[in-house]
Symmetry: C2
Subunit: 246 residues, 2 copies
């Protein structure tokens, strides 16, 4: 098995290089963490739009042996490691969250994340208002009756900063949203959730849910739309850019 030995030596060389790069990456991540903590505006550790930018770029270089899902699996570990180096984040979830929904969270952020469960949504909202690096996971607003958390008065001043799973299957909606006290960063390829008191007919808006006079819409780049109150942004690299502004 001389050939096998040769191939294995090649793999050893590659592994050494990968580890060297990972170590360098950690050093830089630590520098970024230090820079962030000097500048309080940027002290939050979870930056989904930054992660999605990284993934979007890497996805352009996927191939048949290394799919989008493979890239996500590896970089999930990298992101987890980096966030921990910078201090770590904590996730708050409802104690009634389903097993399948927990799996979505683990698949997105890694199986070693810190998770705490809450009984009272009001208290959970107050908790994350006190700490940038506590994040609340809530169900994506949809037609199934849940607790309509988005009309809770304590949701005021909080933001949806991401949806999960990151990789959506065709024609499926996101399952969960990530809520933070931190304002989402608005970039070209982000998608947003809008709250409106009136029903709006616009092809670039997708109605998510309606509750009495509250309409929830999802769309990309419609920030200047007068009738819409902007609730939060989430990075969505699957969504095409849409620069229409009615």
């Amino acid at each position: 098995m001389k050939n096998l030995d040769k191939l294995r030596k090649k793999i050893d060389l590659i592994d050494d290089k990968i580890l060297e790069l990972l170590k360098n990456r950690s050093k830089i991540a630590l520098d970024i963490g230090n820079l962030k903590s000097k500048n309080s505006k940027n002290s939050n550790l979870f930056r989904p739009e930054r992660q999605m930018k990284i993934l979007s770029r890497l996805f352009l270089n996927k191939n048949s042996l290394f799919s989008e899902q493979d890239i996500l699996s590896f970089w999930k570990e990298i992101f987890f490691h980096q966030t921990n180096l910078q201090g770590g984040i904590e996730f708050l979830i409802s104690e009634t969250l389903k097993k399948s929904e927990k799996k979505i969270i683990f698949d997105a952020f890694g199986y070693n994340i810190v998770i705490k469960t809450y009984k009272s949504l009001d208290k959970a909202f107050l908790k994350i208002k006190k700490n940038k690096n506590k994040l609340l996971i809530l169900p994506y607003p949809d037609k199934v009756k849940r607790d309509y958390w988005w009309i809770n008065k304590n949701f005021k001043d909080l933001f949806i900063i991401s949806v999960i799973p990151f990789l959506k299957k065709k024609n499926s909606t996101p399952k969960l949203v990530v809520v933070s006290k931190d304002k989402p960063i608005l970039e070209g390829n982000n998608s947003f959730i809008y709250l409106s008191q009136i029903s709006i007919k616009d092809k670039s808006l997708k109605k998510i849910h309606q509750l009495k006079s509250n309409y929830l819409y999802a769309s990309a780049n419609l920030l200047n739309y007068n009738e819409l109150k902007f609730l939060g942004a989430y990075p969505d690299f699957k969504l095409k850019k849409n620069n229409e502004k009615n």
Copy 2:
């Protein structure tokens, strides 16, 4: 935040290099898979001694920012990806396995592995005898009464090829063993489990368990010891080399 942008560009460059290396590694892994399937002797996909060799070498280059556990977390994904490219393996576990034991399996092999549960241990033994890429997970033999699987007549001709968790804490024993129809590969830093019909006093042997006239020992490099029936090898990079042969 010019500095932040600079650091992020550095990270982008590193990420691109890592992805390129991972893609090359996948190509080589596929070549290895093809080579293995040509040579039936080497067609099994799970080679713990090879994985441990890779990890042991990488561990020498760990640092304060990138620990052994970090290396393991990352390469676990690499090994899972590689095994899948080559065809994939399936794990058989008892339906009575504890939640904490399942976590040990996931932490060792990844959270997306294929796991099937069995009711009858006899049938499970027969199943893995038919397929090199089905592996059976059983409790590590210890003083707590379990099913004493190692004296089951169907265990004949099967081998312990690994123990988990891979990273043992000081003074703790392994929790589970991996059983395969495949003969373990004997290398310098492997550790072995021996079955004997008599009690043996030897400092280099560590008694694991005793059941009537069956004594189970663990040791490194005692293959020529006359009184011991060799049960299986497992890679143990924590164990010092021991070349004593009484």
